[in-house]
Symmetry: C2
Subunit: 269 residues, 2 copies
């Protein structure tokens, strides 16, 4: 654990990350001392910080800190948090001395092997995501909706929960982005009103462009999901899980998904 | 500052209050060693914790901690945060060892005298609050909307900002609840889809019931606000500010507001 470049496992109780969730985070998988997709993660961190007006630490310092962590723990889940830091009392963000940056590591999760080989069971959550265009797509620290949704999918003993918004659009997983193979084309939910746009999602979108597979970022209805030939979720930690069971339908063949998985697992990671 | 009953000014970086904004807070004004409205604040804290499934510390322990703080600082703003504590990695709230409780104090803010004598200028914020019925009313730690709105009202050099939701309803101030005196009756926005229901709001609602003044909790449109005879905002820290200028209209007489102010400042505080 590093807090502002020094070993530590605590932050001040006046940090706005705690007080208001006023910060950004990234979660990455590290293998053999290398954080997969780090440049993409940094780029997204930088965009998210800019969207909230938080000073983003430069890539040089962060890369040096990341390297120092991964020298000791070459294989782990590594998490980075950047908050607006501490300021004067009150919501207004003016007068902050500078952002706070934190690194933490966790063991790589061991998921049941069949989730990878046969796909997962996904739960349709009751919780609906609210629309907030100013925060949509950003991986900020205001994550109570995800907490409530994850509690539901946990209670249903499902590997992941899929979440709709208040307008009955499917937005994605509680901690992942969703893709459909529909009529031979790729479809993924529009995230301009809610949801988090992860970098694995960007990589799938990039794969589609490179491979001339039509891909649509659009509103996705439950009917679309139920009609899809294949469904899969992606994230930087779980990588890709196909969905074998959702909302009383099952799927068993994932030819397009498996092709994309090969590419995501490839040297580009 | 107290962290779980002991002097301290930091919390662990794995606390879910930081990671996800997974917690509740209260901010109170203390005068002569007494936190105003503490039983009401505790009641609200307890309700909010229950809504998120967070174990609420018992009132005895919290009162003892509060007393110990106010013996040293009899006049201050005192803030209490209760988070879900630290658990295993991931959004799902299961497996948390126990909640974290924090106390912090701040000097009593000195507002310009004319805000109290003549009312404030309020700014109409561009930011619209998203609808999330599962979190509406709760004073949780997911406060980025308030941060963005407060940044706007600060930039406009206004004492407070008024915020609408995505459906063009006025919801309240960035850090306060709004009341209108409209056709001789009291009106305050419905907070079932967004906003925070503060205890000063409850006290005004109680005052109206005791004094047989009709009060309506309902959707409030900008037109209602512009037609109101009087406007005022309330919170536990700022108590009550009348609004003398908002959206190019001005107000100068506040007879109903002043009557309520006398009652709120009275021995019931």
């Amino acid at each position: 654990m590093l807090v502002n470049g020094k070993p530590g496992d605590s932050i001040g109780i006046r940090d706005r990350g705690l007080l208001y969730g006023d910060g950004i985070f990234r979660t990455m998988l590290a293998a053999r001392g290398k954080a997969q997709g780090w440049p993409l993660h940094y780029h997204k961190l930088s965009d998210d910080c800019a969207a909230l007006g938080i000073a983003c630490p430069d890539i040089g310092s962060l890369t040096a800190e990341l390297d120092s962590i991964l020298r000791r723990q070459p294989d782990c889940v590594v998490k980075l948090i950047v908050t607006r830091g501490a300021g004067k009392r009150g919501y207004a963000p003016s007068g902050c001395a500078g952002s706070t940056r934190l690194w933490d590591t966790f063991p790589v999760p061991e998921y049941p092997a069949e989730w990878l080989t046969h796909g997962i069971r996904a739960h349709l959550c009751d919780l609906r995501l609210g629309h907030q265009p100013r925060l949509a797509g950003i991986k900020h620290l205001n994550r109570l909706e995800n907490v409530l949704a994850a509690a539901e999918s946990d209670a249903a003993n499902a590997a992941e929960g899929l979440v709709m918004d208040a307008a009955d659009n499917i937005i994605g997983g509680t901690r992942s982005n969703l893709f459909l193979v529909l009529h031979g084309e790729l479809v993924t939910p529009d995230l301009s009103k809610c949801g988090v746009a992860g970098i694995q999602r960007d990589r799938v979108i990039g794969w589609a462009a490179e491979n001339h597979v039509p891909l649509h970022v659009r509103e996705v209805r439950l009917d679309d999901v139920m009609e899809a030939e294949e469904l899969f979720v992606v994230s930087s930690v779980l990588k890709m899980w196909t969905i074998r069971e959702f909302n009383r339908r099952s799927w068993s063949r994932f030819p397009v998904s498996e092709k994309i998985r090969l590419s995501l697992d490839g040297p580009g990671t």
